[in-house]
Amino acid sequence: MSFNEWLRQDRLPHIYCAGCGNGTIINCTLAAVDSMGWKKEDTVFVSGIGCSSRAPGYIVTDSLHTTHGRALAFATGVKMARPDLHVVVFTGDGDLAAIGGNHFIHACRRNIDLTVVCMNNQIYGMTGGQGSPTTPRGCLSTTTPYGCTEPAFDLSELAIAAGANFVARWTSYHVKELERAVKTGLETPGLSFIEALVQCPTNFGRRNKFKKVADQIEYIKAHSLLKAKRDRMLEQGEPIPEDMYVVGELMKRSRPAMGIPKKEAAP
């Protein structure tokens, strides 16, 4: 058994550019789903619009590829109507944080039993590289040609503040850690949010001095700060550099959740 059994082999290769990290995240997510021992007929993948959201089209289960930003609202409908189905949502930074921001915070508030995997490439890739809410300050994109002037959104912090039960952030470099985090997310009742920083060589890297895919991976790797280390630095009063991404399991708690099958919900 491997994640390959969850992929529609006849649909591959997928549409992603060479070096795009989305494929890596799909692998890690499917490997985690596979390790849960779920049946394919009991699993539904839902997505919105964007590069990340093309993922369900390559997965053998029932899947909904919906409208821009609304994936979580569709997933809420699926999960509430059939709580016995396992619902996994693929989404991107523009899909989730910009147009779907309201659905995101409310899905976290409801703590509905979904697993949300956000492929955060910090750019609108599908439309050709426009700035997104997570584009770091100073980065170039087609709509921020003089450098992004807006502060970026920290999606994991947002999910924690809004009430998600499980929040983790990893990158496309940390495949094993990411797979484990997704698995923990799938096991956790309530909303699990896993943010995966991914490289976008075509639209982000190309405009931001990453000539090769490897350069961007190296950057992401070098700018990942483990949560444990961050906490230590905070204790010692050291300043946290602004351009670091805190990675690790950021939150695990058991707030009351929605959309859990009745027999499981009973204490």
Binding site: G57, D62, H65, T67, G77
Partner: protein
Amino acid sequence: MTRTEFWQGNIASAEGALAAGCRFFGGYPITPSTEIAEHMAAKLPKKGGVFIQMEDELASIASVIGASWTGARAMTATSGPGFSLMMENIGYAAMTETPCVIVNVQRGGPSTGQPTMAAQGDMMQCRFGSHGDYAVIALSPASVQEMYDLTAKAFNLADEYRVPVFLMADEVIGHMRERIIIPDSVAHTGRPAFVPGTPPFRPNENLVPGFPVFGNGYGTHVTGLTHDERGFPCATNPQLHAALVKRLVDKIESASEKLADFDIVNPDAEQVFIAYGSPVRTVQQVLHDHPDSSIGFLRIRTVWPFPAHALSIFKNAQRFIVPELNLGQIAREIERYAKVPVVSVPKLGGELHTPKELWKILEAGA
């Protein structure tokens, strides 16, 4: 045993939905449709259904479509401003052929307009509101009884044709209280059966594909992109897109005579009223006050697809008089088919036409 009740229109609609087996309601409060959501919130959990109040109308219709793919009969209710927000996902439902029922208790617009007054200003929006070409079914109730009957019917049509079905009520019908006779049971037609192993979007003879309910291992991919019979995106194939959109429209338009639901009064009359929704009641009053056979009346329940063939029943018609609570949206549609002049009698502001107003129009033409 049938029973008699004295209900508000919105309650009747909610009860009609429950009788039809609606088990999912995703909604957002908006005057004048809120009573439907309130009633569903009270009743659905007791029937094993799900009521969820979403964060906005975009999410309401999205959750309804999501629930519909799990096989549940699902609905939402809203009014003008919320209806505008729903347009995006109504297009998605049309493209993905998802059965769903949307009740629009119309109020005065545009924008926030008149939340507590009646209007019929969304009749064109419900047909053409989302981008691209598609077709839908819209029903228009004129009494509390019809709020019940047509809501139940809407679920059957949505399932049969795999299309969003609108119940285009208005504030007057929604908030009016009337006697209503509750039938023992309502007709229940299921969704077209899906044959496992066949492409999920291959149409049957009536141009509607079988419905592959999620959770059965069919592995259906549903996308709002232009898709082939297997459901996979093929957005750059011109022939495929043309054929898909043509089918989505044809499956409804070609059934327009079968879907048509109208009443005819005095088919030999020269002056003929055409009405749907609450103006029907004013016309009925005119006919009641002047019980002669010189006034014809075509009352339409299925507004979309428009039952054009009904016009030819009035062979002696000299003109069609169309009272509406908008600036003549359906009157213009009637003009497309009518061979005689069409007189639009628009009325804005939220009040119904008075019988006197309509009588004046009749006299002016006589």
